[in-house]
């Protein structure tokens, strides 16, 4: 699928100061690396920012393909380690300062998802800088990684904590097309695609611009630090694909029935074609068509007979569907830059091969931290907002013992013993500074 939107209006945002990743779509196929660094000396940290700054492109010309690019973000501990003044540190919001691990209760990250079970270095005070490299070919990826590693090579005061490669064709490890539903950021100049919703105020995604309230959302100061920056939520999941495949086999007899049940959980077929437009069977042509893949709403399906109320995509983006609780869906949009790692497991494989595979969930936005906390408690790990009581998201929630999923119909079908198909391996909250803020922080 062509992942690039056209530029149809003159951009009004300061694109040459905003990091490319904020507006640049993930290529298809994509290759890349997530690295996490620790700053052990403030001078070394500032030198790191000075060296990496030239590798971080801006969002200007975000609509044109680019072979590779680098994104850079800092945790609260990272800002501290850089020696940022106390008054500036205090101007960041409380949940960012606390960090994801400290927010576990609010995020419903308990049991197997609790910070005590996370991979190193997640949840430790050593996580300071996140570097992500995106590329559209293996060669471009290797070159970009080499260029970044050259800058790191002889640098004192900075320590590499983790280096995780990722890459996929645009389909996740469960075999589903992903990453193609994005909000239209007002002022980016991006064309509107059918069903993608109205443009959402730029201040919801980039600090320093009016948000949906009419005012700019709170930003850290001084202005050079906050303006054109945004927040990043990173959550690394291990995917239990064999368990998902077994669940389908245990609850459906034929391949067609299994694929329909899977589509009822997700809200889409593997191709990306939505149940709303293809209720009976997959329609791969729909999944390939960026103008059709989101061209639907839920107003004509209030009971969820086509797209279940509890399906993953209907929970994560309720569009025009009626909800039980007063909610503004336009302030809950996030820019999604998630990446898949590991090899997909075919739907026929029912045995866990113990390979490492999953999803790095990445959300960007001025409210990204508030929104992921909101999503985790309200839309993922509860069903109350859509009248489903304690039912949870079928893909990314932490399911309790005896959990079930309801497929609406006459009669409805209640499928017992749904398990958690993704386990959290760790995560962090980051601040993604503008290019001028990187420069300011490096001094």
């Amino acid at each position: 699928m062509n992942v690039f939107r056209r530029l149809t209006r003159r951009p009004s945002l300061e694109l040459d100061d905003i990091q490319a990743t904020v507006l640049r779509a993930r290529p298809e196929p994509y290759f890349g690396t997530h690295a996490i660094l620790e700053i052990t000396d403030p001078g070394g940290g500032r030198e790191l920012l000075r060296r990496l700054a030239p590798l971080v492109p801006s969002a200007a010309h975000w609509d044109e393909p680019r072979a590779s690019w680098l994104a850079l973000a800092l945790s609260y501990h990272g800002l501290e380690a850089l020696g940022v003044p106390e008054g500036t540190l205090a101007s960041f919001p409380a949940n960012f300062r606390a960090g994801m691990a400290a927010r576990a209760e609010r995020l419903r990250d308990t049991g197997p998802n609790a910070p005590a079970n996370w991979e190193f270095p997640f949840g430790t005070p050593h996580v300071h800088v996140a570097v992500t490299i995106f590329a559209d070919s293996e060669t471009a990826w290797r070159n970009e990684v080499a260029a970044y590693e050259r800058q790191l090579h002889d640098l004192a005061g900075v320590r590499l904590l983790s280096h995780q490669d990722f890459g996929a064709t645009g389909f996740n490890v469960f075999g589903y097309r992903d990453g193609f539903s994005q909000p239209v950021v007002e002022g980016s100049g991006a064309e509107r695609l059918p069903g993608g919703g109205r443009p959402v105020k730029a201040g919801e995604f980039v600090l320093g611009y009016p948000s949906e309230t009419g005012q700019a959302l709170p930003a850290p100061g001084p202005d050079v630090l906050g303006r054109n920056g945004t927040y990043v939520v990173f959550r690394k999941y291990h995917s239990h694909v064999a368990a998902f495949n077994r669940f389908l086999h245990d609850n459906a007899r034929t391949e067609a029935e299994r694929e329909l049940l899977a589509a009822k959980l997700v809200g889409r077929w593997r191709s990306g074609a939505p149940l709303a437009l293809a209720p009976e069977a997959d329609n791969p042509a729909l999944g390939e068509d960026s103008r059709q893949i989101n061209n639907f709403g839920y107003r004509d399906d209030p009971r969820g007979l086509r797209t279940p109320l509890g399906s993953h995509i209907r929970r994560m983006n309720p569009r025009d569907g009626k909800l039980e609780v007063l909610s503004d869906v336009n302030i809950r949009r996030i820019i999604r830059r998630s990446t898949s790692y590991g090899q997909p497991l075919p739907a026929t494989d029912l045995r866990d091969d113990r390979e490492s595979r999953g999803l790095d969930f990445i959300a960007l936005g001025a409210r990204a931290i508030d929104n992921v906390e909101f999503l985790q408690s309200e839309w993922v790990n509860s069903g109350n907002f859509t009248g489903l009581g304690k039912e949870k998201d079928p893909l990314i929630s932490l399911q309790d013992k005896g959990a079930y999923f309801t497929v609406p119909g006459s009669p409805p079908r209640r499928i017992q013993n749904i398990q958690s198909f993704n386990t959290l391996l760790g995560g962090e909250y980051f601040f993604m500074p503008s290019l001028s803020a990187i420069n300011w922080l490096s001094r």
């Binding site: 609010r106 949906e212 309230t213 009419g214 005012q215 959302l217 709170p218 909800l323 039980e324 609780v325 007063l326 909610s327 503004d328 336009n330 302030i331 409210r367 508030d370 906390e373 909101f374 408690s377 309200e378 509860s382 109350n384 907002f385 009248g387 009581g389």
Partner: protein
């Protein structure tokens, strides 16, 4: 067991429970001490009504949280609010659209100088305040701008304003702690269907 003499029943409670009850309420009549002691022993009943935190501030039982706010009124604020409440006969039916409010009340205190606002709501403190700021800002500001220092519902200071004036409950009871407003609506719809079915059956 309930037929037994209260003294005997009290002595039959575990020593740790007896000690805790004696220490906290030494001056209570033994009949009441027995009731409290037996409740403390009955973990199933107390677990169902366990009081947890509503997030930033306030108590929560099951799915339902409490919020009590006491704020100073601006001069003329009580009068302005009274006119509004009189216009609608004290009927806040429109609040139903929020979908998480079980009840709410506005009470004028201290010779109309202070307002007490109290509500029982579903979920936790933080999630939906941002939605109020973009979905019902006019209503929020009309009512709460009568209070001294109200920064406006879209202000970044609004959560801080509420937190500093909220008085968390020390004890909190909800008869059906897992029945949210959405669940109540669902059960009522089901009951209508069931009653119609029974009527038509005969």
């Amino acid at each position: 067991m309930s037929e037994q003499n209260p003294q005997v029943r009290f002595q039959n409670l575990p020593a740790t429970v007896r000690d805790r009850v004696n220490e906290a309420m030494s001056d209570a009549k033994v009949v009441f001490k027995v009731k409290v002691g037996e409740l403390l022993v009955n973990r199933k009943e107390t677990a169902e009504h366990a009081v947890t935190g509503a997030g930033r501030i306030g108590a929560k039982s099951g799915e339902i949280s409490e919020l009590t706010l006491i704020a100073e009124l601006k001069p003329g604020g009580a009068e302005r609010l009274r006119r509004f409440f009189k216009l609608i006969d004290g009927n806040l039916a429109g609040a139903g659209q929020v979908g998480t409010l079980h009840n709410m009340r506005f009470v004028f205190l201290d010779n109309d100088t202070k307002l007490l606002f109290a509500t029982a709501y579903d979920g936790e403190w933080d999630p939906y305040i941002d939605d109020f700021a973009t979905k019902i800002p006019e209503m929020m500001d009309y009512i709460f701008s009568n209070m001294e220092g109200w920064p406006g519902i879209t202000s970044p200071e609004v959560k801080e304003y509420i937190v500093t004036r909220q008085v968390p409950a020390e004890a909190w009871y909800v008869s059906q702690p897992h029945l949210t407003v959405a669940e109540e609506s669902r059960l009522l719809r089901q009951d209508v269907t069931l009653q119609r079915f029974l009527t038509e059956l005969n």
